[in-house]
Chain length 328, copies 2
Amino acid sequence: MKEYYYNKNVLITGGLGFIGSSLANRLVELGANVTIIDNMEPLYGGNYFNIREIESKLKVIIADVRNTSVIQPLIEKSHCIFHLAAQISYIDSLNIPFEDLDLNSRATLNLLELCRKYNPEVRILFSSSRMVYGKVEKPIVTENCDTNPLSLYGIHKLTSEKYLLMYYKDFGIPSTILRITNPYGPRQQIKHSKYSLVGWFIRQAMENKVIKIYGEGRQLRDYIFIDDIIEAMLRVGASADAVGEVLNVGSGISTKFADMVKLVLECVKSGDMEFISWPKDYEKVETGDIAVDISKLQEVTLWKPDHSLEDGINLTYQYYKKNIHHYI
Amino acid sequence: MKEYYYNKNVLITGGLGFIGSSLANRLVELGANVTIIDNMEPLYGGNYFNIREIESKLKVIIADVRNTSVIQPLIEKSHCIFHLAAQISYIDSLNIPFEDLDLNSRATLNLLELCRKYNPEVRILFSSSRMVYGKVEKPIVTENCDTNPLSLYGIHKLTSEKYLLMYYKDFGIPSTILRITNPYGPRQQIKHSKYSLVGWFIRQAMENKVIKIYGEGRQLRDYIFIDDIIEAMLRVGASADAVGEVLNVGSGISTKFADMVKLVLECVKSGDMEFISWPKDYEKVETGDIAVDISKLQEVTLWKPDHSLEDGINLTYQYYKKNIHHYI
């Protein structure tokens, strides 16, 4: 894999965000020629601090991924695109339905149209989400389970998936779809509670606040540490077998929500927790327990997650202890 | 059912087109207060001649369904909306990808947002398509088969379906999705070959032309006559059991493509047929054989299709023999 990315032109959309910048850091290490495009939309996750150590070794373009005149030349010379630019709050998607459609579906269609015309051989990886499944009936979710999203965010991610699969089948554009569970780790923005709750709760604990848990906090979630995601993504990008596939990306381990909070409190050693009833809006999009089957990803890439939730939370806490003023 | 629509305010988007105007004619007969909105986009199916007999008995608004200021007051006072306005060529959808997204997905989202805010109890029927299935593996397609559309048209219809199901689950807006197979009959535009081939072939036969069949014409299709569709739609609209459901609407009978052409030639008694090889663009979106299971629709509505393909073709031919100058 080290060799695969060496000297390759890699484009990362949304590259100043949590996952994008973590990818960029690893790819620069591997000798790739990295270009980042990010619109630095204030409410989203873009943050210059995320790339402070590699700034001189990559190219950063502050522009919207929907700006065709900017991305067309970038696409033309890319070997590989990690398409991560997105509206990433499933809660917000209902408040900004058309913006969500535009960013999470139309932007992907625009990207694919440009690839079809100017670079149909470019390798694409797309960050989708477990939210495409909606409320799942089966205890463990495999990639061929029904997709009944409960939020516009989930619907629009699913639409992008269908675009990618169609453009692969019809035009051979080689893409892979990654349905990521609940990602957390360093570099994630923790300005508000709308994205990752792990990061948000670490902040709350650090500020000695009371963490509020909806219901009894028994819903199962699959939390995956950023380094494990990056390792999986890089392997998938280098794998010919992954082309045209949909892959769950998770730790494979389900944890009760309240247990995650307990781990945060034990690690940070301040803060407290309290149980409150579900707010109305959240109940509607609540997906119930989630446990994902990651065996397909493991078979294709021989990857396995390396970090327990405890380790991951601790690494995240150590990061924010040093750098929190850059993230709040 | 007759009573159900009497004095009800019914809005038909795309109501001057093939299915919309056929619905309008029946609904006026049943005593409904019908309002049509249609943008009369020249390349689509809108045609004033379709409503010549009922013009004084309904309201026609020439506007785009995406125009919020026009449709908001219409939605507010409707009991029932038949949402049929669409870009309806799956072949064209790749030439106008963003227009297709806009009309076939975004317009539905806009409509649902307005319903959510101003009339969450309005009954919605949406015309989806068998194209959401894509290439099907099973011999007979049921509503819970996988959806892997091969065209942007199919993807965008599927996205609209997901919107409707989500807005029903999350906000209780009562809708039903109709996956219509290959509709044909009077009032369909036959200016070009991009919509229904049955109508187009009747025209070609009437003009004593040679009908070209791609490949061997062995692919199976389910052709359904317009009167049967309208009867099914009206029953579904009046059925509480159909709310929140996805229903196949077809004849339940599969016919070889070449056999349909033979029936056209026998009926019209002029024209001829010739076999040619598949054009490249069509091959990509060709879905293979289609046979749909219509038992769910039959159970819910006690409806059954009334017209054989032979009868339907004959009725269509009789219509165009009288009126063809209004449709070409």
